[in-house]
Amino acid sequence: MNSDATPDPISRRDFLRGAAASAALGAAAPPRPARAITPLPGEIPVIDCHAHLHHHSRDGWQADDLALIEVADRLGIDRLCCSMLTPRRPASAEGFRECNRWVAEAMARHDGRVLGYCYVNPGHPQEAIDEIRRCVEDHGFIGVKLYNEHRCTDPVVFPVVEAAIDLRVPILHHAGHGHHPYPGQPNISDGGDLAELSRRYPEAMLICAHVCGGGDWEWTIKALRHAPGVRLDLSGSVTDDGVVEYAADLLGVDRLLFGCDMSMTAGVGRIRGADLDDEAKAKILGGNMLELLGRRPS
């Protein structure tokens, strides 16, 4: 995620909306559209499969989290699957536990809107497994978030994958494939690594994160072609034309998940822009994620 810091988003939003702004601009703002995405057939919710809450060490985290919900409202996003990362990584066990505690609080605060991924560093194996079980079983987290502390094919990651299989929850895995080194990310996984992990654990529900912010997206899509256990998260700030259609062609729409990773109009815009029918878009926007989430026995 991008960490550009800008102060006080609420007041600037009010600039375009409030009375002072209308006077300054000489015109009253018309009412906003209630939903910017056409409602889906059959009431399938729109689910952002990749979002983040803000770490509480950040000034204004409350306003930033509220802004996220407000943006979701304006873009017609019903649910946000959120994780919180430690500001410094590799994360300590205490660090990821703290993040997950705050995510659990946000889940309670925004009942039904915020779904939680449990973030762990597999380098603390026992603590990671315990944390995943606690978060999923006691607090209703919907999945596991892994970042770049270890490449996903590193055996240290396997017990985490096995725990997720056991609990029947997906793993959203940070990923990227560039043709130049990723600065500061020597252990980043790419689509090929996730495909390899999936061959080892075909029953794992793996999600390859942010293909539109993960370098060469054509490479990633091709690398995942023969790994049916890996879903593709379409999020990211890159709005390249054709990415959704190419992914649909090679992987099939059933493997594609709508996401933003905090680039909200990019995430929504690329689905709106994709040359696919409404049924396919409904699957991508929420149906496929709903199916994944439904695999966990309630």
């Binding site: 600039f15 375009l16 601009l25 018309p30 802004a67 560039g178 054509e218």
Partner: protein, 258 residues
Amino acid sequence: MIVDVNAHLGPFAFRRLRHQSAESLLGLMDSRGIDVAFVSSAAAITHRNTQPANEDLADEARPHPDRLVPFAVINPSYAGWEDDLSACVDLGFRGLRLYPNWHAYELTSGPCLDLVDRATERRMILSLPIRVEDPRQQSWLVDVPDVPLDRVAALVAARPGARFHLVNGRGYVGSPLGRKDGGLPDNYRIDLARLDVLLRDEVETLLDSLGPDRLLFGTGIPFQYPDPTLAKIDVLDPPPEVRERILSRNAMEWLDGP
């Protein structure tokens, strides 16, 4: 009316573009309600000698004078650029796109300033893409960083009489380019293609600090989907006067020129 100040025609060296022909681009524009696009050659970004690509672009755009406004790509460090500029003016080009990092020159170098001056004399707009592709996805053959905003600020300060379109950029809020008190002339306008609305409020902040006559509708077609920029307008939902300025008037003002 919608005017897209950030569009291209022709093939790109590192990726197939689906809508690279004029016919296909116009179809895309029609489907999204985009009336006019300022277009330059995508091929010229990596060609050593850009002029044949400019001529190809002129041929593509010529049958659609009401829809496609041609911009030339000229490298001021390459032989014969003065001749190319004259030829492009004769071909009806209304602006230039500059790719300093792809063409290996400095924005404030003597040759670049000469090019800016000559283009300004000929009433051309100078379009400055901050990036072509996300650096994380660039080919192994190239490693081209974004144009640093401080260099852009130095150029706009050095040539207050020129008129600049800054496209495919972001991060202006942290730069003098995005500040009311940045000490820069008001000779530049900024497109929405990569700006954030709502979450980081970049568009809102620029509207506040620079005013509604400084933002432009730009999408980056056919490299990029047009829909994210359209979605920004939707969710920002500016008052009609501001909407009209961003969608068309700010772009057309400079094109029509005083």
